[in-house]
């Protein structure tokens, strides 16, 4: 079992890249900017942490940026090493190809999580220090969801990376998934529901409402941003009336973390390198 060695190697490599600093700076800057927008005014001493998160950080930063960063961190994981030739060095050591693929998911996922934590929490530290009421717990918890979503996209991209032989193809595949889940999901699924005649929906053993919920939790982005983190901010995580929805969303996150690397591994394992 040499997965930890691969994970540590990839973590180090990712963290030592110049992009890592840029990423943390970008996250910090955006969080600061958004925090400035919702800063307490004379009438309102209360710093609107929940508003900051659910109206600004969530829809903007977490929905669009974090998955994109996940793609960037993950897409070159295997295909990049394959193209450069360092994969030969890696597979000369006693690693199975499964160790390589999942080690990379763990290592790069951890690096991305670190970037999200550092980028989100550095500006938050200022909010804690200055004399405003700031809900640090909510902010910290929300950061965990953001990091989890990033890790899911790292896993998807590493899966793409393992399945194809060049970086370019891995990038195209990963961006394709990003476009589907992040940009087009609502549009496509909306169209789908509209296009299907009511009679067909009636024939299915599920209501239109159930299908809509299913589509929402199937997508890791909406699962995190619309279902899980909102429930968390409402202090109803895994409880209240959406508990079962949340469980499904969480299960789908686990699925998206494991299935793409596994599918990529199947292809990678059969390849001559």
């Amino acid at each position: 079992m040499s997965l930890p060695a691969v994970a540590r190697k990839d973590f180090r490599e990712t963290v030592q890249s110049r992009g890592m600093i840029a990423l943390i700076a970008l996250f910090s800057l955006l969080v600061s900017l958004l925090a400035f927008i919702v800063r307490p005014t004379a009438q309102n001493e209360q710093f609107a942490t929940e508003a900051l998160l659910s109206f600004f950080v969530g829809p903007v930063l977490v929905t669009y940026l974090v998955p994109l960063v996940g793609v960037v961190v993950g897409y070159s994981a295997v295909s990049g090493e394959r193209e450069s030739g360092s994969l030969k060095l890696l597979l000369s050591l006693p690693h199975s190809r499964a160790d390589v693929v999942f080690g990379k998911v763990v290592g790069r996922g951890a690096a991305l999580a670190l970037a999200v934590f550092a980028g989100f929490l550095l500006p938050a530290a200022v909010l804690v220090v200055i004399p405003v009421t700031f809900n640090a717990g909510a902010f910290l918890g929300y950061t965990v969801f953001a990091a989890a979503l990033g890790v899911v996209f790292v896993a998807i991209s590493v899966g793409c990376s393992a399945a194809v032989s060049t970086q370019l193809r891995a990038l195209i595949g990963s961006i394709g998934v990003y476009v589907l889940f992040v940009l087009l999901w609502g549009l496509l699924t909306g169209r789908l529901l509209d296009a299907v005649p009511g009679s067909v929906v009636d024939a299915l053993p599920a209501s239109a409402r159930q299908i809509e919920v299913f589509l929402r939790v199937s997508n890791p982005t909406t699962g995190v941003v619309e279902v899980l983190s909102n429930a968390f901010l409402a202090e109803q995580l895994f409880s209240g009336e959406t508990a079962s929805q949340q469980l499904s969303a969480a299960a789908m996150l686990v699925f998206w973390t494991l299935a793409p690397p596994l599918a990529g591994l199947l292809k990678f394992d059969a390849d001559d390198l």
Partner: protein, 336 residues
């Protein structure tokens, strides 16, 4: 035990058959040189040992285990210097070796290994700044982690200057003395001659010869060519030389006689000429160089039916020492 055992191995790629019906055995503790021109299938064969490429047919066993099922376990006991690899640009040299140590669950001191391959003092630099030769040394250091039972070196001298290549040979020797089996590929003959117990020559995916370097030399033909500067030689003198036992041919080339003969007939040739009243000003013998030998196997017909003449004689006292691995034929000049 056998370190490497290939039986009926065949590898077809989409458009080419890289290796065909290859049988190859490397015994424990042997230093085996795997020779062949570029594109002969050397790297494909090595990649099959490492499970990077899977054979279309046949079995590949390394260190007594099947590569297909026990690849990871095999590589735990194997050190590999791959061909055409690249390093992790952002990680330091020491991190590379540490990674190999971690991966093998070993406890080697990375600095001691860097020192051994001549990279002492460079461990803190990122490997992206290393020259080609330094990267080669770094990969060797990674290969030496955990005292492997088998070293697989694919073109180990590429990128190394002559001094580096010599150090590489010394390390190979030291590892062999420790008891490790060494399997390395090369298209540079001097490498092979200097360190190998046995060599195999691959051509178009087939093993066309396998023997000690001396054995191969004999198989190609033990004849030497004697060039005699003897301006005064007449037809009679030439006839008397031609009549000697061990002489297979005499031709005149200007003032020079070119005599093809067995090694031990050389003095007879000179004596016969002097007896015929011909003044011998100078003579050279020319031995088939390794380059000739190699070309004979990889381009010529020397390979016919020789693949099974496996006769390793690593104790042969004559081996290696007397050859000059120049591109030109090794020549010795004697004034008379």
């Amino acid at each position: 035990m056998t370190a490497i055992e290939l039986r009926g191995v065949r590898k077809e790629f989409a458009d080419v058959t890289a290796v065909r019906d290859l049988d190859l055995t490397v015994e424990d503790g042997e230093v085996y040189g795997f020779l062949g021109p570029n594109g002969a299938g050397k790297s494909t064969t090595i990649n099959m040992l490492l499970e990077l490429v899977r054979p279309t047919a046949g079995t590949v066993r390394v260190l007594g285990a099947d590569v297909e099922t026990d690849g990871v376990e095999i590589r735990r006991r194997t050190g590999v210097l791959p061909d055409g690899f690249s390093v992790y640009d952002r990680l330091s040299g020491r991190r590379h070796v540490e990674f190999a140590v971690e991966s093998k669950d070993a406890d080697d001191d990375p600095d001691a290994l860097l020192d051994r391959v001549g990279l002492a003092g460079d461990g803190d630099r990122s490997a992206g700044e290393y020259s080609k030769g330094m990267r080669q040394r770094l990969a060797l250091a990674m290969a030496l982690v955990a005292d492997p039972d088998l070293l697989v070196l694919d073109e180990p001298s590429s990128g190394l200057d002559p001094a580096g290549a010599k150090e590489m040979r010394e390390i190979v020797r030291a590892e062999a003395d420790r008891g490790a089996t060494v399997f390395f590929s090369s298209h540079i003959l001097e490498q092979v001659d200097a360190v190998c117990d046995r060599v195999g020559i691959l051509r178009d995916g087939e093993l066309v010869a396998e023997d000690s370097v001396e054995g191969l030399r004999e198989a190609v033909g033990g004849e030497e060519t004697l060039e005699v500067a003897a301006a005064g030689a007449d037809d009679e003198a030439i006839a008397s030389v031609r009549a000697l036992a061990g002489v297979s041919g005499v031709t005149r080339d200007g003032d020079e006689l070119v005599v093809n003969c067995a090694s031990d007939a050389k003095t007879d040739v000179i004596a016969a000429l002097e007896e015929a009243g011909v003044a011998v000003d100078d003579f050279h013998t020319r031995e088939a160089s390794l380059e000739d030998l190699f070309l004979a196997y990889t381009e010529g017909d020397a390979a016919e039916g020789d693949a099974d003449s496996v006769a390793p004689d690593p104790d042969d006292p004559d081996s290696a020492a007397s050859d000059r691995p120049d591109d030109d034929a090794a020549a010795e000049g004697v004034d008379s």
